[in-house]
């Protein structure tokens, strides 16, 4: 019970913000043309949920997000650890990673549309390309930073050099890799919505944009709220997962 109270208290500023929003619009501090009342947005959110318009678009988006994010994690971890452990892989990919680092992927959107055409593959590619770097870099740094005494201990207990990767490097690098993935998770939502607003067949970003363009402002804000909520829940779930996986870690 006490815990619940603390949790409630932590989100108190958010509740206050919502109340302030509602009152500010209702009493004319902010024009309803600029920002609809929170209650109106919540009502639209509910209606759009019942009509399945929001759930359907959200489903399309979540599929793209899950696919792009998973690809970024799998390829990024493999590349990062590969670069840390194999000289040839590092030589081949380091220049690419360095060059890629400052490029805003969204700027490449027109090119990607030409190559990939509209469809899920477009959003998935944007998310993959735009969010993979934090995974690569964190996996690379974490794998390089593995204490060599751990590796020596394992070798002297019969672990072959080939198995070191699975038995020692991966678990020892896991905390670093997981914190890089958290950045990628947040980025993947940004890229999802941005790429859907630049051009997509359906999805929550496209829905929000078209609602706004057609003057359906409560719908637009309902879409934004949904995106925010989903991103927030995803991050919380991910944090809970990290805590479970890293319960062994010594946090000083």
């Amino acid at each position: 019970m006490a815990r619940l109270g603390v949790e409630a208290f932590r989100y108190a500023p958010l509740v206050l913000l919502v109340i302030a929003w509602e009152l500010a619009v209702r009493y004319g501090v902010i024009s309803p043309n600029f920002l609809p009342e929170f209650s109106a947005v919540a009502g639209t959110l509910w209606a759009l949920t019942l009509s399945l318009e929001l759930p359907e678009n959200l489903g399309i988006s979540m599929y793209r997000q899950a696919a792009g994010f998973s690809l970024a994690v799998v390829i990024g971890v493999a590349l990062g650890i590969g670069m840390a452990r194999v000289r040839a892989v590092e030589l081949a990919f380091r220049p690419l990673v360095t060059l890629w680092y400052p490029v805003p992927v969204v700027a490449l959107f027109p090119v990607l549309v030409l190559i990939l055409k509209l469809g899920d593959q477009l959003q998935i590619t944007v998310i993959l390309l735009g969010s993979i770097l934090p995974v690569i870099l964190s996996a690379y740094n974490a794998a390089r930073g593995v204490d060599h005494y751990l590796a020596w201990s394992a070798l002297s207990m019969g672990t072959s050099p080939e198995r070191l990767l699975w038995k020692i490097v991966l678990p020892a690098a896991l905390p670093g890799i997981l914190s890089g993935i958290r950045v990628t998770l947040a980025l993947s939502f940004v890229l999802l919505v941005a790429s859907e607003q630049l051009g997509a067949l359906g999805g929550i970003g496209a829905f929000t944009l078209s609602a706004g363009e057609n003057g359906f402002y409560t719908g637009m804000f309902a879409g934004i709220l949904t995106i925010g909520l989903v991103g927030f829940v995803a991050d919380r779930l991910y944090l809970a997962l990290i805590r479970r996986l890293l319960s062994w870690r010594d946090e000083e």
Partner: protein, 278 residues
């Protein structure tokens, strides 16, 4: 200095062992220079020397973690080419696998060597009893004190039953009281399961208490300066090796050899750090 052993079987033989490290834009650093040493079977041999004298480097070469630049190291007459389960190692900072529990850490080597499950469990239970950590089996290393961590590290190494135990300043990270307890613990374990132990320390007193023979190394480049027999300082009653006038006398004898080397090592350190600063 004659470092060649007498009658007993030689377990580890080092001949002309030299280790050079390449340093960018400077002359190579010679860490170990032409060390000849025989370690007898079941002997507990300590190596003391000032910091940076290459004593740990020598140990890592015996472990097969570092390659020798010149010379050779033989274990049971076979040349060391890499790490092996015949040589277990214990490090100063324990190097426990933090993602494994106490039990899993001790099981690690047994699983890697595909020991049958019944035997694995029996060995692990026996070792946990030996190091007095019953009740801590399912705890992660982060929840253990330094002394307990080092016990687990020793048990983990003993699990694979290596013939040689390499110890790299194993008690250096522990407080003075825990260190004394752990030294007695090591003697107890060593008396129970005879092994050849190569023990690196900068603590002369610890070396005399524990070792049959103490090798004194010079400041960098590390060479053997003297080998002192410490057995005569030990009371015949092994449980009572603690303090005695003989131990103190031996410590003084070794310290006479070591004093100039420590001073030299400190000058080297001062020069190299001012070199880095400039």
């Amino acid at each position: 200095m004659n470092a060649i052993a007498g009658s007993n079987a030689v377990k580890i033989r080092a001949r002309g062992v030299t280790k050079r490290f390449a340093v960018r834009r400077r002359a190579d650093v010679i860490a170990v220079d032409g060390v000849d040493l025989d370690v007898e079977e079941n002997e507990l041999l300590a190596i003391v020397g000032p910091s940076g004298c290459g004593k740990s480097t020598f140990l890592y070469m015996v472990g097969g973690f570092l390659e020798v630049s010149e010379g050779e190291i033989l274990v049971d007459g076979r040349r060391v080419t890499g790490p092996g389960t015949d040589r277990g190692i214990v490090f100063q900072h324990f190097a426990l696998f933090p993602w494994l529990t106490v039990r899993e850490n001790i099981l690690y080597g047994l699983r890697e060597r595909k020991v049958a499950e019944a035997e694995r469990e029996a060995t692990t239970a026996e070792l946990i009893a030996l190091i007095g950590l019953r009740g801590f089996e399912d705890v992660y290393p982060k929840q253990l004190s330094g002394g307990m961590k080092q016990r687990v590290a020793i048990a983990r190494t003993l699990a694979i039953d290596p013939e040689i135990l390499l110890m790299d300043e194993p008690f250096g990270a522990l407080d003075a009281q825990t260190r004394t307890v752990m030294q007695d613990e090591l003697l107890r374990i060593w008396n129970q399961r005879k092994k050849t132990v190569l023990f690196v320390t900068h603590d002369v007193h610890e070396a005399v208490r524990l070792a049959d023979r103490v090798v004194v190394m010079t400041a960098r480049p590390g060479r053997i300066k003297a080998i002192i027999d410490a057995r005569e300082a030990h009371a015949p009653d092994a449980a009572n090796v603690r303090e005695s006038p003989e131990i103190a006398r031996k410590v003084n004898e070794i310290w006479e050899h070591l004093r100039d080397e420590v001073a030299l090592a400190q000058r080297q350190e001062a020069v190299s750090s001012s070199g880095r600063g400039g």
